[in-house]
Protein backbone atom coordinates (compact mmCIF):
# COMPACT_ATOMS: atom_id res chain seq x y z
CA UNK A 1 0.00 0.00 0.00
CA UNK A 2 2.79 2.42 0.90
CA UNK A 3 4.40 1.50 -2.40
CA UNK A 4 1.24 2.41 -4.26
CA UNK A 5 0.99 5.73 -2.45
CA UNK A 6 4.59 6.53 -3.37
CA UNK A 7 3.81 5.68 -7.00
CA UNK A 8 0.70 7.83 -6.69
CA UNK A 9 2.71 10.82 -5.50
CA UNK A 10 5.03 10.50 -8.51
CA UNK A 11 2.11 10.27 -10.92
CA UNK A 12 0.30 12.99 -8.96
CA UNK A 13 3.25 15.35 -9.34
CA UNK A 14 3.05 15.09 -13.11
CA UNK A 15 -0.74 15.45 -13.07
CA UNK A 16 -0.41 18.48 -10.78
CA UNK A 17 2.11 20.11 -13.11
CA UNK A 18 -0.09 19.49 -16.15
CA UNK A 19 -3.25 20.72 -14.47
CA UNK A 20 -1.78 24.04 -13.30
CA UNK A 21 -1.51 25.24 -16.89
CA UNK A 22 -4.98 23.97 -17.67
CA UNK A 23 -6.62 25.72 -14.71
CA UNK A 24 -4.69 28.91 -15.43
CA UNK A 25 -6.10 29.15 -18.95
CA UNK A 26 -9.56 28.11 -17.76
CA UNK A 27 -9.59 30.77 -15.05
CA UNK A 28 -8.27 33.56 -17.23
CA UNK A 29 -9.89 32.94 -20.60
CA UNK A 30 -12.91 30.78 -19.67
CA UNK A 31 -11.61 28.25 -22.17
CA UNK A 32 -11.44 24.63 -21.09
CA UNK A 33 -8.56 23.80 -23.41
CA UNK A 34 -9.05 20.31 -24.83
CA UNK A 35 -5.79 20.64 -26.77
CA UNK A 36 -3.83 20.88 -23.52
CA UNK A 37 -3.14 17.14 -23.52
CA UNK A 38 -1.97 17.11 -27.12
CA UNK A 39 0.22 20.13 -26.43
CA UNK A 40 1.80 17.94 -23.74
CA UNK A 41 2.34 15.24 -26.39
CA UNK A 42 3.99 17.74 -28.71
CA UNK A 43 6.24 18.92 -25.86
CA UNK A 44 7.35 15.34 -25.21
CA UNK A 45 8.04 14.66 -28.91
CA UNK A 46 9.95 17.94 -29.30
CA UNK A 47 12.33 16.74 -26.60
CA UNK A 48 12.61 13.41 -28.44
CA UNK A 49 13.46 15.25 -31.65
CA UNK A 50 16.11 17.48 -30.11
CA UNK A 51 17.40 14.70 -27.86
CA UNK A 52 17.98 12.59 -30.98
CA UNK A 53 19.76 15.45 -32.74
CA UNK A 54 21.99 16.10 -29.75
CA UNK A 55 22.73 12.38 -29.38
CA UNK A 56 24.00 12.36 -32.97
CA UNK A 57 26.58 14.95 -32.00
CA UNK A 58 27.68 12.18 -29.65
CA UNK A 59 30.25 12.45 -26.92
CA UNK A 60 28.90 13.41 -23.56
CA UNK A 61 25.51 14.37 -25.07
CA UNK A 62 24.76 10.71 -25.77
CA UNK A 63 25.83 9.56 -22.33
CA UNK A 64 23.34 9.23 -19.49
CA UNK A 65 23.13 11.93 -16.84
CA UNK A 66 24.63 10.49 -13.65
CA UNK A 67 22.44 7.68 -12.31
CA UNK A 68 19.48 8.65 -14.50
CA UNK A 69 18.26 6.75 -17.55
CA UNK A 70 18.09 9.77 -19.86
CA UNK A 71 21.00 11.35 -21.66
CA UNK A 72 22.47 14.84 -21.43
CA UNK A 73 20.94 15.38 -24.86
CA UNK A 74 17.43 14.86 -23.47
CA UNK A 75 18.19 17.07 -20.50
CA UNK A 76 19.41 19.91 -22.71
CA UNK A 77 16.53 19.40 -25.12
CA UNK A 78 14.24 20.69 -22.36
CA UNK A 79 15.33 24.15 -23.48
CA UNK A 80 14.30 24.06 -27.18
CA UNK A 81 11.21 21.99 -26.28
CA UNK A 82 10.07 24.62 -23.78
CA UNK A 83 10.77 27.51 -26.13
CA UNK A 84 8.94 25.92 -29.07
CA UNK A 85 6.06 24.84 -26.83
CA UNK A 86 5.65 28.42 -25.58
CA UNK A 87 5.70 29.66 -29.16
CA UNK A 88 3.17 27.00 -30.15
CA UNK A 89 0.79 27.91 -27.30
CA UNK A 90 0.96 31.63 -28.10
CA UNK A 91 0.65 30.88 -31.82
CA UNK A 92 -2.46 28.74 -31.34
CA UNK A 93 -4.03 31.50 -29.28
CA UNK A 94 -3.22 34.07 -31.99
CA UNK A 95 -4.50 32.00 -34.87
CA UNK A 96 -7.48 30.24 -33.30
CA UNK A 97 -8.77 31.84 -30.10
CA UNK A 98 -7.96 35.51 -30.58
CA UNK A 99 -10.14 35.90 -33.69
CA UNK A 100 -12.91 34.12 -31.77
CA UNK A 101 -12.55 36.53 -28.83
CA UNK A 102 -12.67 39.47 -31.22
CA UNK A 103 -15.88 38.08 -32.71
CA UNK A 104 -17.33 37.62 -29.23
CA UNK A 105 -17.66 33.86 -29.60
CA UNK A 106 -19.27 31.83 -26.84
CA UNK A 107 -16.91 29.79 -24.67
CA UNK A 108 -18.51 26.58 -25.92
CA UNK A 109 -17.47 27.52 -29.45
CA UNK A 110 -13.89 27.99 -28.30
CA UNK A 111 -14.09 24.70 -26.38
CA UNK A 112 -15.08 22.86 -29.55
CA UNK A 113 -12.38 24.66 -31.52
CA UNK A 114 -9.86 23.41 -28.96
CA UNK A 115 -10.96 19.83 -29.71
CA UNK A 116 -10.14 20.58 -33.34
CA UNK A 117 -6.71 21.91 -32.34
CA UNK A 118 -6.18 18.72 -30.30
CA UNK A 119 -6.93 16.49 -33.32
CA UNK A 120 -4.76 18.64 -35.55
CA UNK A 121 -1.75 18.45 -33.25
CA UNK A 122 -2.15 14.70 -32.81
CA UNK A 123 -2.38 14.29 -36.58
CA UNK A 124 0.92 16.12 -36.99
CA UNK A 125 2.55 13.86 -34.39
CA UNK A 126 1.24 10.76 -36.23
CA UNK A 127 2.55 12.04 -39.55
CA UNK A 128 6.02 12.86 -38.29
CA UNK A 129 6.69 10.11 -35.74
CA UNK A 130 4.14 7.42 -36.62
CA UNK A 131 1.98 5.38 -34.27
CA UNK A 132 4.82 3.41 -32.63
CA UNK A 133 5.97 3.84 -29.07
CA UNK A 134 9.14 5.81 -28.55
CA UNK A 135 11.47 5.92 -25.60
CA UNK A 136 13.93 8.61 -24.62
CA UNK A 137 16.36 5.82 -23.78
CA UNK A 138 16.45 2.09 -24.26
CA UNK A 139 17.51 -0.26 -21.55
CA UNK A 140 17.03 -0.75 -17.86
CA UNK A 141 16.23 1.99 -15.44
CA UNK A 142 17.92 1.88 -12.10
CA UNK A 143 15.88 1.60 -8.92
CA UNK A 144 16.46 2.53 -5.35
CA UNK A 145 14.80 0.62 -2.55
CA UNK A 146 13.47 2.72 0.29
CA UNK A 147 12.22 -0.37 2.09
CA UNK A 148 11.91 -3.96 0.85
CA UNK A 149 8.66 -3.26 -0.95
CA UNK A 150 8.80 0.47 -1.52
CA UNK A 151 11.03 1.26 -4.43
CA UNK A 152 11.51 4.29 -6.57
CA UNK A 153 13.15 4.70 -9.93
CA UNK A 154 16.00 7.14 -9.75
CA UNK A 155 14.32 9.02 -12.59
CA UNK A 156 11.29 9.57 -10.42
CA UNK A 157 13.24 11.63 -7.93
CA UNK A 158 14.29 13.87 -10.81
CA UNK A 159 10.67 14.03 -11.99
CA UNK A 160 9.40 15.16 -8.63
CA UNK A 161 12.11 17.77 -8.13
CA UNK A 162 11.52 19.30 -11.57
CA UNK A 163 7.73 19.13 -11.30
CA UNK A 164 7.53 20.79 -7.91
CA UNK A 165 10.27 23.24 -8.82
CA UNK A 166 8.31 24.36 -11.87
CA UNK A 167 5.11 24.57 -9.86
CA UNK A 168 6.82 26.63 -7.14
CA UNK A 169 8.24 28.97 -9.77
CA UNK A 170 4.80 29.53 -11.29
CA UNK A 171 3.27 30.03 -7.86
CA UNK A 172 5.84 32.69 -6.98
CA UNK A 173 5.38 34.33 -10.38
CA UNK A 174 1.63 34.59 -9.79
CA UNK A 175 1.94 35.78 -6.18
CA UNK A 176 4.85 38.22 -6.42
CA UNK A 177 5.27 39.72 -9.86
CA UNK A 178 3.24 42.53 -11.35
CA UNK A 179 2.35 40.42 -14.38
CA UNK A 180 1.34 37.50 -12.17
CA UNK A 181 -0.90 39.67 -10.03
CA UNK A 182 -2.44 41.18 -13.15
CA UNK A 183 -3.15 37.67 -14.46
CA UNK A 184 -4.99 36.89 -11.22
CA UNK A 185 -6.82 40.19 -11.47
CA UNK A 186 -7.81 39.36 -15.03
CA UNK A 187 -9.14 35.95 -13.98
CA UNK A 188 -11.06 37.55 -11.14
CA UNK A 189 -12.68 40.48 -12.93
CA UNK A 190 -11.85 41.10 -16.61
CA UNK A 191 -14.00 44.22 -16.89
CA UNK A 192 -12.30 45.90 -13.95
CA UNK A 193 -8.90 44.78 -15.23
CA UNK A 194 -9.63 46.57 -18.49
CA UNK A 195 -10.70 49.83 -16.82
CA UNK A 196 -7.58 49.65 -14.63
CA UNK A 197 -5.62 50.08 -17.83
CA UNK A 198 -4.45 46.48 -18.06
CA UNK A 199 -3.73 45.47 -21.64
CA UNK A 200 -5.60 42.20 -21.86
CA UNK A 201 -4.17 40.85 -25.10
CA UNK A 202 -0.63 41.28 -23.83
CA UNK A 203 -1.52 39.47 -20.60
CA UNK A 204 -3.20 36.62 -22.45
CA UNK A 205 0.05 36.14 -24.30
CA UNK A 206 1.74 35.74 -20.92
CA UNK A 207 -0.93 33.29 -19.77
CA UNK A 208 -0.47 31.11 -22.87
CA UNK A 209 3.28 31.40 -22.54
CA UNK A 210 3.22 30.11 -18.97
CA UNK A 211 0.84 27.34 -20.00
CA UNK A 212 3.16 26.44 -22.89
CA UNK A 213 6.13 26.20 -20.54
CA UNK A 214 4.29 23.94 -18.10
CA UNK A 215 2.97 21.79 -20.94
CA UNK A 216 6.46 21.11 -22.29
CA UNK A 217 7.91 20.32 -18.87
CA UNK A 218 5.07 17.95 -18.00
CA UNK A 219 5.33 16.34 -21.45
CA UNK A 220 9.02 15.58 -21.06
CA UNK A 221 8.58 14.34 -17.49
CA UNK A 222 5.67 12.15 -18.54
CA UNK A 223 7.85 10.84 -21.36
CA UNK A 224 10.63 9.99 -18.91
CA UNK A 225 8.17 8.27 -16.57
CA UNK A 226 6.42 6.17 -19.23
CA UNK A 227 6.87 6.15 -22.98
CA UNK A 228 5.95 8.38 -25.91
CA UNK A 229 2.94 7.63 -28.07
CA UNK A 230 0.71 9.97 -30.05
CA UNK A 231 -2.29 9.37 -27.76
CA UNK A 232 -0.37 9.99 -24.53
CA UNK A 233 -1.58 13.52 -23.89
CA UNK A 234 -5.14 13.00 -25.02
CA UNK A 235 -5.56 10.13 -22.56
CA UNK A 236 -3.69 12.06 -19.88
CA UNK A 237 -6.24 14.87 -20.26
CA UNK A 238 -8.86 12.96 -18.27
CA UNK A 239 -7.03 12.93 -14.91
CA UNK A 240 -6.00 16.54 -15.62
CA UNK A 241 -9.63 17.56 -16.08
CA UNK A 242 -10.57 15.72 -12.93
CA UNK A 243 -7.75 17.36 -10.95
CA UNK A 244 -8.70 20.82 -12.18
CA UNK A 245 -12.38 20.32 -11.42
CA UNK A 246 -11.51 18.93 -8.01
CA UNK A 247 -9.37 21.98 -7.32
CA UNK A 248 -11.82 24.56 -8.61
CA UNK A 249 -11.71 26.86 -11.62
CA UNK A 250 -8.57 28.95 -11.79
CA UNK A 251 -7.15 27.77 -8.46
CA UNK A 252 -3.46 26.86 -8.69
CA UNK A 253 -3.26 25.41 -5.19
CA UNK A 254 -6.49 23.54 -5.93
CA UNK A 255 -5.00 22.02 -9.07
CA UNK A 256 -1.90 20.93 -7.14
CA UNK A 257 -3.95 19.24 -4.43
CA UNK A 258 -6.32 17.82 -7.04
CA UNK A 259 -3.39 16.43 -9.02
CA UNK A 260 -1.94 14.64 -6.00
CA UNK A 261 -5.35 13.23 -5.04
CA UNK A 262 -5.85 11.94 -8.58
CA UNK A 263 -2.41 10.36 -8.75
CA UNK A 264 -2.73 8.60 -5.40
CA UNK A 265 -6.36 7.55 -5.97
CA UNK A 266 -5.54 6.07 -9.36
CA UNK A 267 -2.54 4.09 -8.11
CA UNK A 268 -4.15 2.91 -4.89
CA UNK A 269 -7.21 1.76 -6.85
CA UNK A 270 -5.02 -0.84 -8.56
CA UNK A 271 -4.88 -2.69 -5.22
CA UNK A 272 -8.61 -3.35 -5.55
CA UNK A 273 -9.36 -3.02 -9.25
CA UNK A 274 -7.90 -4.15 -12.53
CA UNK A 275 -5.44 -1.40 -13.59
CA UNK A 276 -7.47 -0.89 -16.77
CA UNK A 277 -10.06 0.84 -14.60
CA UNK A 278 -7.59 3.52 -13.47
CA UNK A 279 -9.07 6.21 -15.74
CA UNK A 280 -12.53 5.32 -14.46
CA UNK A 281 -11.38 6.19 -10.95
CA UNK A 282 -10.52 9.69 -12.14
CA UNK A 283 -13.93 9.92 -13.76
CA UNK A 284 -15.79 8.78 -10.65
CA UNK A 285 -13.98 11.31 -8.45
CA UNK A 286 -14.76 14.02 -10.98
CA UNK A 287 -18.44 13.11 -11.04
CA UNK A 288 -18.65 13.02 -7.24
CA UNK A 289 -17.03 16.44 -7.03
CA UNK A 290 -19.40 17.85 -9.63
CA UNK A 291 -22.37 16.55 -7.67
CA UNK A 292 -21.32 17.57 -4.16
CA UNK A 293 -18.87 20.45 -4.62
CA UNK A 294 -19.52 21.88 -8.10
CA UNK A 295 -17.11 24.76 -7.49
CA UNK A 296 -14.36 22.39 -6.40
CA UNK A 297 -12.69 22.02 -3.06
CA UNK A 298 -10.71 25.24 -3.36
CA UNK A 299 -13.22 26.93 -5.66
CA UNK A 300 -13.92 30.59 -5.27
CA UNK A 301 -17.34 31.45 -4.08
CA UNK A 302 -18.91 33.82 -6.55
CA UNK A 303 -18.71 37.35 -5.21
Amino acid sequence: MVALIVDGIVLGSIIALGSVGLTLIWGITDLFNCAHGDQITVGAYLALLFGGLFARIGGPLAAPVGPFSFSWGILISFIPAVILSIALAIGIDRIVYRPMRKAGAHFITAFIASIGVAWGLRGIVYIIWGADFHFYTEGLRSMIYITDTVRLRVDEIFIMIVAWGAVAAVYLFMARTKTGKALRALADNPTLARVSGINIERLLMWAWGVAGLLVAVSGVLYGIETQLRPEMGWIFLLPLFAAVILGGKGSITGALAGGLVMGIAQQVSTAFLVPTYKPAVAFIIMILVLIFRPKGIFGRRSA
Binding site: K181, R184, L192, V195, G197, I198, N199, A303
Partner: protein
Protein backbone atom coordinates in the same frame (compact mmCIF):
# COMPACT_ATOMS: atom_id res chain seq x y z
CA UNK B 1 -13.73 75.35 -20.18
CA UNK B 2 -15.06 71.84 -20.15
CA UNK B 3 -12.78 68.92 -19.43
CA UNK B 4 -15.15 66.34 -20.81
CA UNK B 5 -17.85 66.77 -23.43
CA UNK B 6 -20.32 64.46 -25.08
CA UNK B 7 -21.69 65.68 -28.39
CA UNK B 8 -24.90 64.08 -29.58
CA UNK B 9 -23.84 60.62 -28.51
CA UNK B 10 -25.89 57.63 -29.56
CA UNK B 11 -24.75 54.39 -28.00
CA UNK B 12 -25.91 50.99 -26.82
CA UNK B 13 -25.34 47.26 -26.92
CA UNK B 14 -25.52 45.54 -30.28
CA UNK B 15 -28.76 46.53 -31.93
CA UNK B 16 -30.21 47.86 -28.68
CA UNK B 17 -29.82 51.62 -28.60
CA UNK B 18 -29.69 52.94 -25.03
CA UNK B 19 -28.58 56.56 -25.43
CA UNK B 20 -30.42 58.64 -28.01
CA UNK B 21 -28.27 61.63 -28.81
CA UNK B 22 -26.92 62.81 -25.48
CA UNK B 23 -24.92 66.02 -25.12
CA UNK B 24 -23.37 67.05 -21.87
CA UNK B 25 -20.44 68.94 -20.46
CA UNK B 26 -18.28 68.45 -17.42
CA UNK B 27 -16.44 71.68 -16.58
CA UNK B 28 -12.98 71.42 -15.08
CA UNK B 29 -12.86 71.21 -11.31
CA UNK B 30 -16.60 70.68 -10.85
CA UNK B 31 -18.78 67.84 -9.63
CA UNK B 32 -21.40 66.97 -12.22
CA UNK B 33 -24.17 64.56 -11.35
CA UNK B 34 -26.33 62.59 -13.74
CA UNK B 35 -29.50 61.61 -11.99
CA UNK B 36 -31.93 59.09 -13.34
CA UNK B 37 -33.92 55.97 -12.58
CA UNK B 38 -32.82 52.40 -13.27
CA UNK B 39 -32.35 51.67 -16.94
CA UNK B 40 -32.18 55.32 -17.96
CA UNK B 41 -28.75 54.86 -19.50
CA UNK B 42 -26.56 56.30 -16.74
CA UNK B 43 -24.08 53.45 -16.74
CA UNK B 44 -24.04 53.40 -20.54
CA UNK B 45 -22.91 57.04 -20.50
CA UNK B 46 -19.91 56.20 -18.32
CA UNK B 47 -19.06 53.08 -20.30
CA UNK B 48 -19.19 55.04 -23.53
CA UNK B 49 -16.97 57.79 -22.12
CA UNK B 50 -14.44 55.26 -20.87
CA UNK B 51 -14.27 53.44 -24.18
CA UNK B 52 -15.91 50.20 -23.14
CA UNK B 53 -18.55 50.88 -25.79
CA UNK B 54 -18.02 52.74 -29.04
CA UNK B 55 -20.68 55.35 -29.74
CA UNK B 56 -22.61 54.69 -32.94
CA UNK B 57 -23.02 58.43 -33.51
CA UNK B 58 -21.60 61.57 -31.99
CA UNK B 59 -18.31 62.19 -30.25
CA UNK B 60 -16.73 62.10 -26.83
CA UNK B 61 -14.18 64.86 -26.35
CA UNK B 62 -11.69 64.87 -23.49
CA UNK B 63 -9.34 67.84 -23.20
CA UNK B 64 -9.84 68.77 -26.85
CA UNK B 65 -9.14 65.22 -28.01
CA UNK B 66 -11.71 62.95 -29.64
CA UNK B 67 -11.70 59.80 -27.53
CA UNK B 68 -14.79 58.11 -29.00
CA UNK B 69 -14.15 54.38 -28.99
CA UNK B 70 -10.61 54.71 -27.65
CA UNK B 71 -9.49 51.63 -25.68
CA UNK B 72 -10.03 51.88 -21.90
CA UNK B 73 -6.32 51.48 -21.13
CA UNK B 74 -5.56 54.49 -23.31
CA UNK B 75 -8.37 56.50 -21.75
CA UNK B 76 -6.87 55.68 -18.34
CA UNK B 77 -3.50 56.94 -19.62
CA UNK B 78 -5.10 60.30 -20.44
CA UNK B 79 -5.84 60.81 -16.74
CA UNK B 80 -9.35 59.48 -16.33
CA UNK B 81 -10.38 57.05 -13.62
CA UNK B 82 -13.53 54.93 -13.56
CA UNK B 83 -15.24 53.25 -10.63
CA UNK B 84 -17.91 50.86 -11.95
CA UNK B 85 -21.02 50.19 -9.92
CA UNK B 86 -20.83 46.46 -9.47
CA UNK B 87 -17.88 44.14 -9.04
CA UNK B 88 -15.65 47.18 -8.66
CA UNK B 89 -12.91 45.45 -6.68
CA UNK B 90 -10.83 42.34 -7.43
CA UNK B 91 -12.52 40.13 -4.85
CA UNK B 92 -9.87 37.40 -4.93
CA UNK B 93 -6.96 39.84 -4.49
CA UNK B 94 -5.92 41.52 -1.27
CA UNK B 95 -6.67 45.18 -0.55
CA UNK B 96 -3.06 46.08 -1.24
CA UNK B 97 -2.99 44.08 -4.49
CA UNK B 98 -6.14 45.88 -5.60
CA UNK B 99 -4.35 49.20 -5.23
CA UNK B 100 -1.29 47.81 -7.02
CA UNK B 101 -3.54 46.87 -9.94
CA UNK B 102 -4.86 50.42 -9.91
CA UNK B 103 -1.25 51.48 -10.44
CA UNK B 104 -0.69 48.98 -13.26
CA UNK B 105 0.15 51.71 -15.79
CA UNK B 106 2.69 53.35 -13.51
CA UNK B 107 6.32 52.42 -13.94
CA UNK B 108 7.56 54.59 -11.10
CA UNK B 109 7.33 53.86 -7.39
CA UNK B 110 3.62 53.85 -6.59
CA UNK B 111 4.02 53.20 -2.85
CA UNK B 112 3.88 56.85 -1.70
CA UNK B 113 0.59 57.19 -3.57
CA UNK B 114 -0.68 54.00 -1.93
CA UNK B 115 0.11 55.43 1.51
CA UNK B 116 -1.73 58.63 0.56
CA UNK B 117 -4.77 56.58 -0.33
CA UNK B 118 -4.62 54.62 2.92
CA UNK B 119 -4.44 58.05 4.60
CA UNK B 120 -7.51 59.17 2.68
CA UNK B 121 -9.43 56.01 3.61
CA UNK B 122 -8.06 55.06 7.03
CA UNK B 123 -10.83 52.45 7.42
CA UNK B 124 -9.19 50.08 4.96
CA UNK B 125 -5.63 50.62 6.21
CA UNK B 126 -5.72 47.82 8.81
CA UNK B 127 -7.18 45.44 6.20
CA UNK B 128 -4.29 45.62 3.70
CA UNK B 129 -3.74 41.87 3.65
CA UNK B 130 -7.43 40.90 3.61
CA UNK B 131 -9.07 39.76 0.44
CA UNK B 132 -11.25 42.49 -1.00
CA UNK B 133 -14.15 40.03 -1.16
CA UNK B 134 -14.16 39.87 2.62
CA UNK B 135 -14.66 43.63 3.10
CA UNK B 136 -17.95 45.25 4.10
CA UNK B 137 -19.88 47.22 1.47
CA UNK B 138 -18.61 50.60 2.66
CA UNK B 139 -14.98 49.52 2.75
CA UNK B 140 -15.32 47.90 -0.64
CA UNK B 141 -16.57 51.17 -2.09
CA UNK B 142 -13.63 53.04 -0.55
CA UNK B 143 -11.22 50.49 -1.97
CA UNK B 144 -12.89 50.78 -5.36
CA UNK B 145 -12.42 54.55 -5.35
CA UNK B 146 -8.89 54.16 -3.99
CA UNK B 147 -8.00 51.80 -6.84
CA UNK B 148 -9.16 54.35 -9.39
CA UNK B 149 -7.13 57.08 -7.66
CA UNK B 150 -3.80 55.24 -7.90
CA UNK B 151 -3.02 56.88 -11.25
CA UNK B 152 -3.72 60.37 -9.87
CA UNK B 153 -6.58 60.91 -12.32
CA UNK B 154 -7.65 64.44 -13.13
CA UNK B 155 -11.17 63.24 -13.83
CA UNK B 156 -13.07 60.54 -11.98
CA UNK B 157 -16.17 58.74 -13.22
CA UNK B 158 -18.27 57.20 -10.44
CA UNK B 159 -21.17 54.84 -11.00
CA UNK B 160 -23.69 54.93 -8.13
CA UNK B 161 -21.22 54.79 -5.27
CA UNK B 162 -24.11 54.89 -2.78
CA UNK B 163 -25.68 51.60 -3.91
CA UNK B 164 -26.43 49.25 -1.06
CA UNK B 165 -24.83 51.43 1.61
CA UNK B 166 -26.37 52.44 4.93
CA UNK B 167 -27.36 56.15 5.03
CA UNK B 168 -24.46 57.24 7.25
CA UNK B 169 -22.04 55.53 4.85
CA UNK B 170 -23.67 57.27 1.90
CA UNK B 171 -22.99 60.62 3.58
CA UNK B 172 -19.42 59.56 4.24
CA UNK B 173 -18.83 58.55 0.61
CA UNK B 174 -20.30 61.80 -0.72
CA UNK B 175 -18.09 63.74 1.71
CA UNK B 176 -15.04 61.88 0.40
CA UNK B 177 -16.05 62.76 -3.15
CA UNK B 178 -16.31 66.44 -2.23
CA UNK B 179 -12.95 66.23 -0.51
CA UNK B 180 -11.41 64.76 -3.65
CA UNK B 181 -12.99 67.47 -5.73
CA UNK B 182 -11.53 70.16 -3.49
CA UNK B 183 -8.12 68.63 -4.07
CA UNK B 184 -8.61 69.31 -7.80
CA UNK B 185 -10.28 66.21 -9.22
CA UNK B 186 -13.12 66.77 -11.67
CA UNK B 187 -15.97 64.37 -10.92
CA UNK B 188 -18.72 62.89 -13.07
CA UNK B 189 -21.09 61.13 -10.70
CA UNK B 190 -24.01 58.99 -11.80
CA UNK B 191 -26.70 58.38 -9.19
CA UNK B 192 -30.24 57.29 -8.47
CA UNK B 193 -30.00 58.80 -5.03
CA UNK B 194 -31.21 62.43 -5.19
CA UNK B 195 -28.95 63.20 -2.27
CA UNK B 196 -26.13 63.32 -4.79
CA UNK B 197 -27.44 66.70 -5.92
CA UNK B 198 -26.33 68.21 -2.64
CA UNK B 199 -22.68 67.63 -3.34
CA UNK B 200 -22.92 68.51 -7.06
CA UNK B 201 -22.27 71.78 -8.86
CA UNK B 202 -24.12 70.89 -12.05
CA UNK B 203 -26.64 68.20 -12.78
CA UNK B 204 -28.41 66.46 -15.61
CA UNK B 205 -31.57 64.46 -15.38
CA UNK B 206 -31.73 61.42 -17.60
CA UNK B 207 -34.66 59.22 -18.48
CA UNK B 208 -35.05 56.62 -21.20
CA UNK B 209 -31.68 57.50 -22.69
CA UNK B 210 -32.65 61.14 -23.13
CA UNK B 211 -31.72 64.28 -21.27
CA UNK B 212 -34.79 65.64 -19.47
CA UNK B 213 -33.28 68.59 -17.64
CA UNK B 214 -30.02 70.31 -16.89
CA UNK B 215 -28.80 73.13 -14.73
CA UNK B 216 -26.99 73.91 -11.55
CA UNK B 217 -27.77 71.47 -8.76
CA UNK B 218 -29.44 74.33 -6.89
CA UNK B 219 -31.76 75.18 -9.80
CA UNK B 220 -32.87 71.60 -10.19
CA UNK B 221 -33.49 71.17 -6.49
CA UNK B 222 -35.63 74.31 -6.46
CA UNK B 223 -37.65 73.35 -9.54
CA UNK B 224 -40.96 72.09 -8.22
CA UNK B 225 -41.79 70.13 -11.37
CA UNK B 226 -38.47 68.28 -11.37
CA UNK B 227 -38.56 67.70 -7.63
CA UNK B 228 -41.95 66.08 -8.01
CA UNK B 229 -41.10 63.89 -10.99
CA UNK B 230 -37.53 62.88 -10.42
CA UNK B 231 -36.46 63.60 -6.91
CA UNK B 232 -39.30 61.76 -5.21
CA UNK B 233 -40.57 64.69 -3.20
Amino acid sequence: MSTLRMENVTSGYGSMEVLHGISLEVPEGKIVTILGPNGSGKTTILRTVFGEIRPTEGRVIYRDQDISGMHPDNVARLGMGYVPQEANVFAALTVQENLEMGAFLRNDDYRPRMEEIFGMFPEINPRRKSRAGELSGGMRQMLAIGRALMLNPETLLLDEPSTGLAPFLVDQIFEKIQELNRSGVTVLLVEQNAQALRCADLAYILEGGEKKAEGTAQELMNDAEIAKHYLGR
